[in-house]
């Protein structure tokens, strides 16, 4: 891709003016060198653009929001006791049986989530690189922000914290356990054993606060990225974002606190 694009729409580009312009370009304001690429099918073509990546970011973000919400609500069963909680785990494995064989629906969801995660992280990485290239020499004095929030300026850090936590969380409660006694198929006991360790409980709380920050900006931002902008509902977008973030944080943080307080106990 170059500035004087071949995707000309039939207008008055080219000619003498363009020559002068490109002569100027050689000296000042030359386009950032981006990789030259072969034409590709349109979804790939869309993803190559920054705006397309933002769509992917937003759509995968919505999928992840759905997962985070369902995960939180499902875990509330912890408060109904071990039988109820473990039965919920069993329900997930038996989801859509007999339409699908055992575990298949769960695996489909897992694959969907993995794909969403990979795309979300790849898009955020690529956009971050694009942004770095767009200002190679930073401001030498302190920039005074008028609208950007702490949440919006730390998206990549809150995202990285959530991502790393997620890997740890999978080891902790799904795969192997992380030191505390771990029994496959008994998530209630595993949760209690793991979160009874104070540093682990603190880690869960911190990671969920990071997730809350991420969602506070993300679940507002996605409306703009998706082009969902209408005077009829615009004033609800901010409210939605902070309510959603608050529900997730309060729900998720309640688990380590309940374990430490002895409400959840084997």
């Amino acid at each position: 891709m170059t500035a004087t694009s071949t995707r000309d729409v039939g207008g008055p580009t080219g000619g003498e003016g363009a020559d002068q312009a490109s002569a100027l370009n050689d000296r000042y304001g030359a386009p950032i060198k981006r990789k030259q690429r072969r034409p590709a099918p349109w979804p790939v073509e869309l993803y190559r653009s920054g705006l397309g990546k933002k769509y992917v970011m937003a759509i995968t973000g919505i999928a992840l929001m759905g997962f985070v919400f369902a995960h939180m609500v499902g875990n509330l069963k912890m408060f109904l006791g071990p039988a109820s909680f473990n039965e919920y785990g069993e329900f997930l494995r038996e989801l859509l049986v007999p339409i699908l064989p055992h575990h298949v629906a769960l695996w489909l969801m897992r694959i969907g989530l993995i794909v969403a995660f990979v795309l979300h992280i790849h898009a955020s990485y690529a956009l971050t690189r694009m942004n770095r290239q767009a200002r190679t020499v930073r401001y030498q004095s302190r920039q005074d922000y008028a609208a950007a929030t702490y949440a919006s300026r730390t998206m990549r850090w809150s995202g990285v914290i959530v991502g790393l936590f997620l890997v740890w969380h999978l080891f902790d409660l799904s795969w192997t356990g992380t030191g505390a006694p771990f029994y496959r198929g008994d998530p209630y006991t595993n949760t209690d054993n793991s979160l009874s360790r104070i540093p682990v409980a603190v880690l869960y709380i911190v990671a969920n606060l990071a997730l809350g920050l991420h969602l506070f900006h993300g679940s507002w931002s996605l409306f703009q990225s998706m082009g969902w902008n209408n005077p009829r509902f615009n004033r609800w977008r901010r409210n939605f974002a902070w309510t959603f973030a608050a529900i997730i944080v309060i729900g998720n943080v309640s688990f380590p606190i309940a374990v430490l307080a002895g409400v959840v106990d084997v």
């Binding site: 891709m1 170059t2 500035a3 694009s5 995707r7 000309d8 729409v9 207008g11 008055p12 580009t13 312009a21 100027l24 370009n25 000296r27 000042y28 304001g29 386009p31 950032i32 072969r38 034409p39 099918p41 349109w42 073509e45 869309l46 653009s49 920054g50 705006l51 397309g52 933002k54 769509y55 694009m130 942004n131 290239q133 767009a134 200002r135 190679t136 020499v137 930073r138 401001y139 030498q140 004095s141 920039q143 005074d144 922000y145 008028a146 609208a147 950007a148 919006s152 300026r153 998206m155 900006h217 931002s221 409306f223 703009q224 990225s225 998706m226 082009g227 969902w228 902008n229 615009n234």
Partner: protein, 275 residues
């Protein structure tokens, strides 16, 4: 003639009275040329009238620097009434300074207090290279406008007035977008150096009107693709809207996003041929 008429001599006296003055210290970015090493230089600016605009204050400082044999500070300016978009400057970390909805040329010294230190930096973005001191080259914006900022019209005899009906609200929205003076403050203020507000405004003032419909999607696509050759991507911080001297709304960015997706869908056969 009644006795209540003001004495014309008094009126003149009021006009020449400098009013409240302030002493400020400037920390200004000095850079001899595009590839030269830059640095902050400190200058005292005593006795500045609070009625001066920011640029008039710089004129006064430059006058003195010239007298002292120091190279005056280069900065961009033209109309000095907020309509041309030539003035720029990051003033205390904010594009066009602390006042909302004004360009640097409309910023007045009364916004500052006696004894303030004012830090002045050029707009910074890879696509806005520094020419000298505080002057930057914003030609990348021209590339974006070239990429799609025109409409097809039937040339020939002059059309009748009001031949194409435009609803009032639509005309108003298009006018809001057309208020963009291409100053680049949106890029300067954006943590990502994104030009989405500028591009969205330039696309919207044509895309909203009936006259702009025939190339609406192609225009959006080529303008956005050109934009991305130069600038960063939008994280929806909203910093651009806060810095914009014309208070262009980020609503236009959402519209541009929607049009861009539609463009990619509508033009996909075209794209598969052309890349």
């Amino acid at each position: 003639m009644t006795v209540t008429d003001p004495d014309p001599r008094e009126a003149t006296a009021a006009r020449t009275d400098p009013g409240r003055t302030l002493d400020v210290t400037l920390k200004v970015w000095r850079q001899a040329g595009p590839d030269a090493e830059g640095h902050f230089a400190t200058y005292e600016a005593p006795g500045i009238s609070e009625d001066m605009s920011f640029l008039e204050m710089l004129d006064v400082v430059n006058e003195r620097l010239a007298d002292e044999g120091v190279e005056p500070i280069s900065f961009d300016h033209d109309c000095r009434e907020g309509i041309c978009g030539t003035c720029s400057l990051m003033i205390n970390g904010q594009a066009h300074g602390p006042e909302r909805g004004t360009a640097t040329c409309q910023l007045h010294m009364r916004t500052f207090s006696d004894g303030d230190t004012i830090v002045i930096e050029p707009f910074r973005a890879t696509a806005f290279p520094i020419i000298k001191d505080l002057m930057v080259d914003r030609a990348a914006f021209d590339r974006i406008v070239e990429a799609g900022g025109y409409i097809t019209v039937a040339a020939g005899s002059a059309p009748d007035a009001n031949l194409i009906p435009v609803p009032k609200v639509v005309a108003d929205a298009a006018m809001d977008a057309a208020a963009c003076i291409a100053c680049g403050a949106c890029v300067a203020a954006c943590p990502n150096s994104a030009a989405n507000l500028f591009t969205a405004a330039k696309a919207a003032h044509l895309n909203l009107l009936p006259q702009g419909q025939s190339q609406r999607y192609q225009r959006t696509e080529t303008m956005v693709d050109t934009m991305e050759d130069f600038f960063g991507s939008c994280t929806n911080h909203g910093e651009c809207e806060a810095a914009c001297p014309k208070e262009i709304s980020i609503d236009f960015i959402a519209t541009m996003n929607k049009d861009y997706l539609r463009a990619k869908l509508k033009n996909r056969r075209y794209l598969s041929r052309n890349g």
